[in-house]
Structure formats: C-alpha cells, structure tokens
C-alpha cells in the first residue's frame, strides 16, 4: 500500500500543473463505423430539423413568392441538379424571395432561396443553374454547419443539436432557438469566409460543366454583380459576399488553371426569359 500511495501522489503532483482547456475529441480514434454512421439518417434528420428553423426565419424576414410558374421552374432546375450532384440523402427545396435585394441563401438540410432581385439580374438559364449550384455546394460541403461549430460554445454542433432536439424541456427549446438565431444572424450579417465562397464558385463551375451548361455565363454573372455593389444597391450582398472582385479573380484563375475556358455549353436563354418575363 505504501508503494501505491507513493505513485498516486506523484501523479496528482504532476497533473495539478495542467490547465484544463476545452479539448476536442481525438479524430484519429474514430473507427470506420463511427464515420460511416455519422452520415446516415439520424444526423440528416437533425440537420433538416435545424434547417427548417433557419428557413422559417428567412421567410419571416422576406416574403415568399407564391408565383407557382416561376417557383416550379426554379425547382425543376434545382432538383435536376441536386438529383445528379447533390447529397443523395437530402431532398432539396428551392424558393424565391420577393425582394429587390440581390442575394441567395443555402440553409443546412437542403433549403435554397434566391431573391427576385438576383433573378432579374440573370440573363439565361446557365446563370441560374450556376447560382443554384453554388448554393448547393455550400450545403454539400457543410460550410455553414462547420462555421457555426467554430462560433458556437458547444464542442460539437451536431451533438448539441441532438441533445437539444432530443429533449423536450423549455430550456432545450430555448437553446435550439439560440442556435437557429446564430445561424440566421450569420447568414444575414456575417456570411461565410472568402475561401468558402470561392470554393463554392469552383464547385458550381464544375457542376455546370458536368451538366453541359456554358461555364462562362456564370463568370459573367459575377461580373454583372459588381456595378450593383458600387452603387450601394445590394447592401446585404456586400456584407455576406466578400468582395465580388475576389471571387471573380479566383474563379478566372481557376478556369485558366484547368483550361476550362474552351468549354462550350448550353445557355437556354429563350426558356429562361419566357418564364421570367411573366409578371
């Protein structure tokens, strides 16, 4: 027993000097089955439930356009893209926000919104496909969830949401509301990093090529956003989409690096204009 207490004291002595800091789980310990099941239904359902909350807030701020013809068109383009290149376990929803602001939102769980202001700026279907593809890739890459994870005081957003959704106490509901607010605030005010946006642009371009659309059209759309910023028209856009200039340059360089400028593709200008023209 003397030996034992000697060792015990030694250990306590050494580790009383260690400061307690919030630690992250050791990722390398995760076994194949942990990683595999992280991507299955349970996690997806939580993501969808969370996304609905944020979407409801977006719709609380901007009215939803109930023009069935336009919505159906956007939805078909969007669903067609997501069916081939989106996350297979999600169903994606595409809505139009009735506002002149030029913006688009991607919400975890598969909810994508584009504003009328943005649609009015587009010239053809390839540009619309590009914007939708850009938003799709935010959801696919889980940029938003990752960013929230960094800001949230919880160690893991998914487990945090899980605990909160699993519980039915008022405290839990309040916590869920706070998480939702955080996500909404971020979408409206802060936005994602320049790098994440540029990454989404690149992924969108690859998707356009895969689908046979004209990649140059998307670059032109980014170009067309510039004057609107200069005039101060798209205030929200400038806050949540860091310099369009940076994105334009990054994308141009990406196209050049991978020799994608020679690729031709469809624009479907007539079909686009026909739907958008109707009041």
């Amino acid at each position: 027993m003397a030996h034992f207490s000697k060792y015990l004291c030694l250990y306590i002595f050494i580790f009383s000097f260690v400061f307690a800091v919030s630690g992250q789980a050791q990722e390398f310990r995760l076994r194949a089955h942990h990683i595999f099941w992280k991507n299955q239904e349970a996690g997806t359902q939580r993501e969808i439930d969370f996304g609905r909350g944020v979407s409801a807030k977006i719709l609380g701020k901007y009215p939803l356009l109930r023009d069935e013809r336009k919505v159906h068109y956007i939805s078909q383009i969007g669903t067609g893209i997501s069916a081939q290149l989106g996350r297979p376990e999600l169903r994606y929803y595409f809505g139009i926000l009735d506002t002149d602001e030029i913006n688009a939102f991607a919400v975890p769980g598969g909810y994508i919104f584009v504003t009328m202001g943005a649609l009015k700026l587009m010239r053809n279907e390839a540009q619309l496909a590009g914007v939708l593809a850009h938003e799709l890739s935010h959801i696919g890459q889980k940029h938003i969830v990752r960013k929230l994870k960094l800001q949230s005081t919880d160690r893991s957003l998914t487990s945090g949401i899980a605990q909160v959704l699993g519980s039915s106490t008022l405290a839990a509901k309040i916590a869920l509301e706070r998480l939702n607010d955080l996500a909404f605030k971020m979408l409206m005010e802060e936005g994602l990093s320049k790098e994440d946006e540029a990454d989404a642009d690149q992924k969108a371009l690859e998707m356009l090529i895969t689908l046979g659309y004209d990649p140059q059209s998307y670059l032109n759309y980014l170009q067309s956003l510039k004057p609107h910023l200069a005039q101060g028209g798209a205030e929200v856009l400038s806050k949540t989409h860091p310099t369009i200039e940076f994105r334009y340059q990054s994308l141009s360089e990406f196209i050049h690096r991978h020799k994608l400028d020679k690729i031709q593709g469809k624009k479907n200008e007539k079909r686009f204009k026909k739907i958008m023209a109707t009041p």
Partner: protein, 178 residues
C-alpha cells in the same frame, strides 16, 4: 529424471512461442497488404443519378459507358477536376463532382424515407407550433428579455415543402438544350 523433464518443458514452450509468433507476423502482414489494396481512401461511390465515364479527361472525349448511382469505383489517378476510376472492367475519366466518399443508398429507398421525414411526426408538429408561437408573441426568458428577436413564417415554409417535385422529370427538364 528431473533434468529430462526440464528440457522437454523448455522446448515445448519454445515451439509454441515460435508458432504463435509466426501466426502473428502473418496476420500483421495480411492486414497491412489488405488495407493497402482496399485502401478506404481510394474507394468512392457514384452519386447522383449516374455519371458518364470518358476515355480522356476532357468533355469532348469519347463516352465509354454510363455508371449508375451508387456504383463503387476505385480512384486510380487525379488530374485537375477529373478523376480516373476503375469499375469492374471499365477504366476511364469522371468529373470529380460526381463522386461521393460515402456509400450512396438506392434512390427509391431514399425518396421513401424522405417522404417519411416530411410527413410531420408528432415532434415536428410540436416544434412548429412552438416556434410559430415565438414568432407571434416573442418568447421571453425568466428575466423578461426577448429570446428570439426574429420573426418566423412556417406557413410559407410548408407551402414551399408541399410543392410537387420529381427527380426523374427534373433531370429530363434539365437536359433540354435549345
């Protein structure tokens, strides 16, 4: 007599040790090589409704075959936004956006489950009702401070979710070229 027993005892133990060591070495070798050839990092799946396998990493290159959703392929080489994959007898190039690191379920099953997710479970209804209440009255905590300053509109969200959508028809709609 004692001496003889001693020797027998030692050699018996030694041969058992030797045997077990060989077994261990073989097993370690096995797992190492097996993990190399089935390297999980290189096994990927085709996502979406299908992908086109091409001869060369270029959009104008000849189409070799179509790979359907969920097909398991092995990545052999990468070049820019293209990946060279092997699937059974086929070897060709795919755009990397069409690949998923995680297994993809069969489409019908997923749609079925998605529909199940949408038809409001009891919990979902409670959440909606609660959040709608927040939206109207503005939830306050015990100190009287407003918890969520943001308004919500679940009615609009539900209208959006009720809109018809069909993956196969949408893909056909998308493939139209003027």
């Amino acid at each position: 007599m004692t001496v003889i027993h001693q020797i027998q005892f030692d050699s018996f133990l030694v041969s058992k040790k030797y045997f077990l060591r060989i077994l261990a070495a073989l097993f370690l070798l096995f797992t190492h090589f097996v993990s190399e050839s089935f390297a999980s990092a290189n096994t990927v799946y085709i996502k979406g409704l299908g992908a086109v396998l091409r001869e060369q990493p270029s959009i104008q290159s000849k189409k070799l075959t179509n790979l359907s959703r969920g097909t398991k392929v092995l990545v052999v080489e990468s070049k820019g936004i293209w990946q060279k994959v092997e699937s059974g007898e086929n070897l060709g190039w795919l755009l990397r956006g069409q690949i998923s690191k995680f297994p993809v379920k069969r489409k019908k099953l997923i749609l079925g489950q998605k529909i199940q997710l949408q038809s409001a479970s009891g919990r979902r209804i409670r959440l909606r009702t609660f959040s709608a209440v927040i939206g109207v009255r503005g939830l306050v905590d015990s100190k009287g401070k407003k918890i969520s300053p943001y308004k919500t509109d679940y009615v609009a969200l539900e209208w959006l979710e009720k809109q018809p959508s069909d993956e196969e028809i949408s893909v056909i709609f998308l493939s139209f070229t003027e």
